[in-house]
């Protein structure tokens, strides 16, 4: 499922292209920079250069608003300080200007003030905003600027203007919205269902990884990847409001699908029957309050299926009265209330423990690891209030995420790193594995559709491997 996009988990901006609409990148800005550098280095008195290294932001940043807002601030400064702003191919913004003292404030020079402003602006995006900024006085030490410019001189002519790609903020067209409506109403949901196994990791590092891993739950969701949507449609889904509307429409169909699958003891829910591995599903509050949920939950309870229902944390916060009602319904069904997805910024804004969830889905990112000591202690306090046994670290693609989680006492994980570990174990025991790659095995195990599993001659193993060891315990 690591290639797939669960509609609900498409974090804002993830689907967005990095360009910035209406913000043409000046082709050949590097050449202009080189020319200016030559002149300015010849007469460096009072000349300063401020570089905003947006290229150093981790993907999917820089987002279009980073560029748009930063450029306005830099142009403002350029106007006041007789300067010029250049946007380079690598998305760095370069301000070359005079270092004269600000006429309005008579304090620090304008670019130095701007440097402080930009550092404050990016404090939520990077742990150390100073790393994004270079401020060079050319009459004091021109060497760093010279080195910076020389890094661009050998570059090939720029290719396609990335800024022309669709990006955030473009109003969704009627066409793309119509496509979304059609998908919500008619897409072949059975083929779009995906799964990912969440794992419990034994903290004893002396044991081999395979012995330390036990499946803890199975997340079911919808992936739009098989539909090969046009960029304009995925772009529309980067709007969180359209995403919520769209997800709520899909939820009704997901509930029907689960209901029918439970009744038929189908592949989606069979591993969970009679106390098997719990299932996690993301649903909107409206869906949980619908008759469709009541029907599905009655069947699930009767069949001994344990479920965790993940509610979007944003909706939970703004609909607290509904959340209380939902909590009662889930209690009645014996299901767990899960809140997610949380990232570093959401952790700062929400007192998660106050919402008393049974589990919380925290999305791993480099930001969590690189955060300042203050921010780290803030995260640690927030996580401790929630309780480490309630946290699932998801989106873990590498050992770094595992190590970060384990160091904090987190024992449940979800992500590509574990998908690969399971696929490797499956392939070791599969007689037909010679014909497959690890990546194919991961992708096929993630898919619940027939087309998504095509090519596997041992499909039973795809499911059986993911439930090896059983579930057990509170999920």
């Amino acid at each position: 499922m690591n290639d797939a996009v669960l509609a609900r988990q498409a974090a804002p901006g993830v689907l967005a292209s990095p360009g910035s609409p209406g913000f043409p990148m000046s082709l050949g800005a590097e050449r202009v920079l080189a020319d200016m550098a030559e002149r300015w280095l010849r007469y460096p008195a009072d000349k300063v250069v401020l570089v905003l290294h947006l290229s150093r932001l981790a993907a999917p940043a820089p987002r279009s608003h980073h560029l748009r807002v930063a450029r306005v601030l830099m142009q403002d400064c350029a106007q006041r300080a007789d300067g010029q702003v250049l946007l380079l191919q690598n998305q760095d913004l370069v301000l070359l200007c005079s270092a004269q003292r600000d006429q309005h404030t008579e304090s620090a020079d304008a670019p130095a003030q701007l440097k402080a402003t930009l550092a404050r602006l990016f404090v939520a995006d990077v742990p150390d905003p100073a790393r994004l900024l270079s401020y060079w006085r050319l009459d004091e030490d021109p060497a760093p600027f010279r080195t910076y410019v020389s890094g661009f001189l050998g570059l090939a002519a720029p290719g396609r203007d990335k800024a022309a790609a669709p990006g955030e903020g473009i109003p969704a067209s009627a066409l793309s919205l119509a496509a979304l409506e059609e998908i919500a109403a008619q897409a072949p949901l059975g083929e779009l269902m995906v799964q990912q196994t969440g794992m419990r990791l034994d903290p004893d590092r002396k044991k081999p990884l395979a012995e330390r891993l036990k499946p803890a739950f199975r997340q079911l969701g919808v992936s739009l990847a098989p539909l090969n949507l046009r960029p304009v449609v995925t772009e529309a889904l980067s709007d969180p409001y359209l995403l919520h509307h769209f997800s709520a429409r899909l939820d009704a169909r997901v509930l029907r699908l689960l209901h029918d699958d439970l009744r038929a003891e189908g592949r989606l829910t069979r591993p969970a029957l009679h106390g098997g591995m719990p299932i996690h599903v993301c649903l909107s509050l409206e869906a949980i309050l619908s008759p469709g949920f009541a029907r599905m939950s009655r069947l699930a309870r009767g069949a001994g299926v344990r479920m965790g229902i993940e509610v979007p944390v944003m909706q939970a916060c703004i609909e607290m009265e509904l959340l209380d009602h939902v909590r009662s319904l889930l209690d009645l069904a014996g299901f767990d209330l899960i809140l997610g997805p949380f990232d570093a910024a959401m952790l700062k804004l929400v007192q998660t423990a106050q919402m008393q969830p049974d589990a919380v889905k925290l999305v791993w990112s480099q930001h969590l690891a690189d955060a300042s000591a203050d921010a780290q202690s803030g995260f640690a306090a927030a996580l401790a209030r929630i309780g480490m046994d309630r946290i699932v670290l998801q989106g873990v693609e590498s050992e770094q995420g595992v190590a970060w989680g384990q160091a904090r006492g987190i024992s449940r994980f979800q992500g590509g790193f574990f998908d690969h570990a399971q696929a490797a174990a499956r392939m070791a025991g599969c007689p037909a594995a010679n014909a497959c790659t690890l990546r194919q095995c991961v992708s096929r195990a993630g898919s619940q559709g027939v087309a998504g599993r095509a090519g596997c001659t041992n499909p039973a193993l795809l499911d059986s491997a993911s439930i090896a060891g059983g579930g057990g315990g509170r999920h």
Binding site: R68, H245, E321, M346
Partner: protein
Amino acid sequence: MLRQSELSGASRRALLLHIDRLPPALAKPHHLRLAREALNSLADADRAQFFELSRGRIAIVWRSRGGDELTHAMEALGHLISGQPEGEAPTLGELVSLFDLPHQAVWLLDELADEAPSHPPSPTTPLDVQQLAGLEAALAQADLAQFARWRTVMRLKPAGPPMAPLARIETEPVWEERYFAVHALGASLTPDRGLKADPWLFRRLTRTLDRRMLAMLSVPKDIQGIGTLAIGVNVATILGAEFLRFDDALPVNLRGEVILNIRPADMLSDPGAFLFARNFVRSRHYRLALVGVTLPMLQVLDLAGSGFDYIQTKLAQDITTRPDALTTLMPGGTELVATGLDRASDVRWAISHGITLGRGRALTR
């Protein structure tokens, strides 16, 4: 009808059911249905007339004392709120007001004077996304001046004892809030659809309205002479080209005098973008208000250090019954703005609890 009763001296009895005083936990659809059914017995009373009022309130007027019918209705309503912990539900006396007409007509009229300006209810059929796209395109071109409104946030200054008449409470306009009348807009552009019926699509639509408001306020003559100003904006709007143009055109005298109203859903829909936008507007000397906040939201949002100058909340029953909770939950360095101060008693309550900024019909009469 009340005035006729006053003039003719005809004896009537009136019951006003304050459904809006039910706490959220008791205001689910089935509770509201039960509350309405509780009044059915009064339908048998002599010349009973039912009136649907705003905020879900219901008035019934009938002739004679309404003995058994009234008793049955009161019992059923009492049953609805029974079993609730003290303080978490209104008492029967708070839920129901009874009036003997005509000599208590003036009291009932006073209650009715607090009604919102009446407009027909919005359709409940939501927009679909294609209609939304069409509406966005139409709104981008339409002349929206006729739908532009303003309302004033006042500073409340008690000038006498807590129970002083409203006339003795000094108020002073502090800022003007500009907005579009969504109800009128919907009635004009999509009369058969409720703009707010799908909250997600409505939130999306507000971005288009934001852009139009910013465009209107970027015309120098339109903002000449105004003082502090508040506008509702989405985070995406702040980070968009229109806001940057607005910021560029903002007269020097308004720098630091513009309050940006942000809603919790928007803050939480993209927290990373919100934090970036917050840092940007603070650097440009805008003030920030988090609006539409409820007491349960305050309990789960961590607003300390979030950069808001104001938290705006509607005076609701859960707040008036637990004023201490409000005080405890307010983050330091922020001022509370109470909205919905529609009755003199609301204003007095706000003042007696140290609230000094407010908005509502009682302040603008």
